[in-house]
Subunit: 355 residues, 2 copies
């Protein structure tokens, strides 16, 4: 594995002392060491026609396939890193988390790997495939209504009553550092392919913002010339509105609940992810529901990957972001946990030419 | 990338001088150097429930996802290595190949990467997705009847008439060495995960035998304790019959044409792959058509991978091979080029519990 040193340019910690408590590249490197042998170093899968690559047909458009993690999503990175950082006696009492699905599976798997009990609070409309994943890892599940606020209150209460440690889904430095290892890998892998000095844009889906915060931290520290662009569904674009207005905007469940991207129905960024994204993200673009569906079909056809709607948003954004000359575009496919019937129905409805 | 030294035990070249012309570990290492940056170092994707792993839930069943290569199959390894080994003036005149699909795509892509013309002879019943892949890389296609013999004769004639170099699909030392890099990666990747000394069985699909020959060479040289087991459809089990009878047995197109595994409809092993497999393979198992279909659904559901029927044979074989205590099973998923309608129809027909 190649180790990449930061390029000359802005350091990973800002000159602004108000940003000194943000996650640093060193934090992400430490997380990577903890995660070695636990998470899959997911491949950069080339996508698109050879004519879209460089003159020799070498690809320039890539999917970072986090769908190939053991739990089918990047969330194992942050969850395992957070649980690893607990004092052993605290960890032994057990952990609790609230999540629509993939963070739930990450915490359940990480707890299992440490041999400690996990309790997961899930919305009652979570995809069956994600509920089954949590169950298979032996975690206890508490179902609540679909609203994100119910989940938070229930998890907090369980933590207090039972002495469990809450593992936050995104607004936590350990989680952000863990998710950031995905960005570290992208920069390393492109360098291994000989593209260390070619223009780069990384597209990262934004739900609560943990992945995008960590990835932006790693990528911008190592490649200050690179762009990191967040992606949201048009129907759940609270992060875009937050960054544009300079304050955290909440979108209620009646709004975010409209998107098929079930992993992105969070009501808002957290204070910590808002600050990371404000300082380090270049932009946020949005994609339509139709584009998300088409991207699921495109991933199956062109990259032989099963991706979930949230994971498909960054693929859809490949058609929105204008590449700079010679630029590599990397779309982070955050997960692949899609209910089989939804997957089938989406493929069947796709434009045959796009399949 | 970790470099693995051969373990004490049988050397990679046999003591039998009659085997001295077989491909060696050194040949495969040389191929790996040629292929760096061209092929994807495909991941080992864990598959199965955590309860099927070790006591801590760490996985022991893996898919080596060659479906994630740029052309959707392992064939780019051998094709690129073979074309790279040509003298530049010979290469510049162009290459020709005959193939039902994935080798065609490998040769077309490799020729494109070298900027030389390619002509591909394909059967007229080749999957549309494979034909489209060859076209997208700018190769000329000549269609013939479904019989393998027609393809060979046509390709030989084109080579003679037009001064093209034939790139064989499997019975060639350069091809075997190229495909063997997949086995090298498996041993390296398991070592990186801390499993260098745990029992190992690798399952490799067999069409013409190039992949299994190369993989058996690499794996047995580095891990003499490991088993390498070939997999064939019951309906195209010519290699199993050949190894058991000690001579190359031909199955006509009316027999091998029955399987949905279109990449495995080769009539027979070649002299060179027969000798490699006779010397280095531990066994060949067969799988039913129903098991191949179920494995396609299992890969989508459990590993989030789109796999083609030939690639699914080794996944189906996971249920056939009895693991030794603590053993890691690695199924090589040879490719993911399946026509979208066939993929849809296979998923829709799958047992919902197995999806």
């Amino acid at each position: 594995m190649t180790t990449i040193d930061p390029m000359p340019g802005p350091a990973s910690r800002s000159a602004d002392p108000a940003l000194d408590d943000l996650v640093s590249l060193a934090d992400i490197r430490a997380a990577a060491a903890t995660l070695a042998g636990i998470v899959v170093r997911t491949p950069l899968v080339p996508v698109g026609l050879p004519t879209e690559g460089d003159a020799q047909g070498h690809p320039r458009t890539w999917l970072k396939a986090e769908s190939l993690q053991p739990i089918g999503a990047f969330k194992l990175r942050g969850a395992y890193h957070a649980i690893a950082s607990l004092e052993p006696d605290v960890r032994a009492r057990g952990v609790v988390a609230h999540s629509s699905g993939n963070h739930a599976q990450g915490v359940a798997r990480a707890a299992r790997l440490f041999g400690v009990p996990a309790t997961i609070v899930m919305p009652d409309d979570a995809p069956a495939v994600k509920v089954a994943g949590v169950r298979a890892d032996g975690a206890a599940i508490v179902f609540v209504g679909a609203a994100s606020d119910d989940r938070v209150a229930t998890a907090d209460r369980l933590a207090q009553e039972r002495g469990l440690t809450l593992i936050p889904a995104y607004d936590d430095a350990r989680i952000i550092a863990g998710q950031g290892t995905c960005g570290l890998e992208i920069v390393e892998q492109l360098a291994e392919l000989g593209h260390a000095h070619e223009p780069l844009t990384v597209l990262a889906p934004i739900g609560g913002g943990g992945l995008a915060s960590g990835v932006a931290t790693a990528v911008k520290a190592l490649r200050p010339d690179a762009r990191v662009i967040g992606v949201e569904p048009e129907l759940a674009a609270d992060a875009q509105e937050s960054l544009r207005s300079g304050r955290i905007v909440h979108w209620g469940p009646e709004l975010v609940g409209r998107t098929i991207a079930d992993g992105m129905r969070t009501s808002s960024l957290g204070p910590l992810t808002f600050r990371h994204l404000s300082a380090r993200l270049d932009d946020i673009v949005t994609v339509s529901e139709a584009a998300i569906r088409a991207a699921i079909a495109r991933a199956a056809r062109q990259a032989r990957l099963v991706v979930e709607p949230s994971g498909a948003t960054s693929i859809a954004a490949l058609d929105v972001v204008v590449p700079r000359p010679g630029e590599h575009l990397v779309a982070i496919v955050s997960g692949g946990n899609i209910d089989p019937d939804r997957f089938l129905e989406t493929l069947a409805a796709a434009d045959p030419r796009a399949r």
